[in-house]
């Protein structure tokens, strides 16, 4: 098994080769907040919080182009939306190696429902939350993340499953 891909090095070299002069400064923190689980998972209410840009298809079962390129802000989707009505608007994935046809591979709604049925987790929160991938770490930290936290607290979420694409 070969080494995992070092994306920070790889993208820096790539964008330098494309003529971008200033290397991107990736977020780095020495301190990491940590909360312990305070009750059994079988009693926990779980929400997905994701940057995989998942949206609900239009009424015709097609991608809804009208909301394709909204930028910024946190949005919420009903957690009981059938998976076949969901799709990802993301384009920033490895388009040569994989595709986003299986929403559960980056937004595990069906798997979490099955875990509820099995009693492994307690329940799903009414809403799952999407956060747009930001160019600005400051906007994510000052605006979007606090809003995602507020929505989770409002729905009394015990555990958040975090998924990028």
């Amino acid at each position: 098994m070969s080494e995992h891909v070092r994306y920070m090095d790889r993208t820096r070299d790539y964008y330098v080769s494309q003529g971008y002069e200033k290397p991107y400064q990736w977020a780095h923190h020495t301190d990491v907040p940590f909360s312990l689980l305070t009750k059994p998972l079988s009693e926990c209410r779980v929400a997905i919080v994701s940057t995989s840009d998942v949206a609900i298809m239009g009424p015709d079962g097609q991608r809804d182009r009208s909301n394709e390129f909204s930028v910024g802000n946190v949005y919420s989707l009903p957690s009981d939306t059938p998976v076949d009505q969901l799709y990802s608007r993301q384009e920033h994935y490895d388009q040569h190696a994989t595709n986003l046809d299986d929403v559960n591979a980056y937004y595990p709604v069906d798997r979490l429902r099955e875990l509820v049925e099995q009693g492994r987790i307690g329940s799903l929160a009414p809403s799952f939350h999407g956060v747009y991938t930001g160019y600005s770490q400051r906007k994510t930290a000052d605006v979007d993340a606090p809003e995602a936290v507020r929505r989770c607290i409002e729905e009394e979420v015990d555990v958040a499953v975090m998924t990028p694409v």
Partner: protein, 126 residues
């Protein structure tokens, strides 16, 4: 980049008292940012929660995360899912290279347009 954003949000959820577990494929970005619990899959960007259309494998990945929630006692706890993507590791060598640009065609145009909208929003806000 979406690994970084979701890591930043996870940090604030933890700070607010909500335990998190992050599933991802970009190990360096998540660990550089620093999160509480992380399940790393050595899969391409796009398969953070497992192999497409493989419910059994996806459940194995999720279960690793649930066990982290139950047993991790300190932040920066990472576990790696045991699966490999395939026999061929070419995808690792090609991603973000001049030989195989990450974005091309419409995806590249959309990215450039989104960057411009962001600049415009910033300019309008100032």
């Amino acid at each position: 980049m979406c690994h970084q954003t979701v890591s930043l949000v996870a940090r604030q959820l933890e700070a607010a008292g909500i335990p998190t577990v992050l599933f991802g494929t970009a190990k360096d970005i998540v660990e550089h940012c620093g999160v509480a619990r992380f399940v790393f899959s050595d899969f391409p960007l796009g398969n953070s929660c497992g192999r497409s259309f493989d419910a059994v494998q996806q459940h194995q990945v999720l279960e690793l995360g649930l066990q982290l929630l139950e047993h991790a006692t300190a932040p920066r706890t990472t576990v790696q899912a045991p699966d490999v993507w395939g026999d061929d590791d070419t995808w690792k060598q090609l991603i973000f290279t001049e030989e195989q640009p990450f974005l091309s065609g419409e995806a590249l145009e959309n990215w450039l347009a989104a960057k411009q909208r962001y600049r415009d929003q910033r300019a309008a806000a100032q």
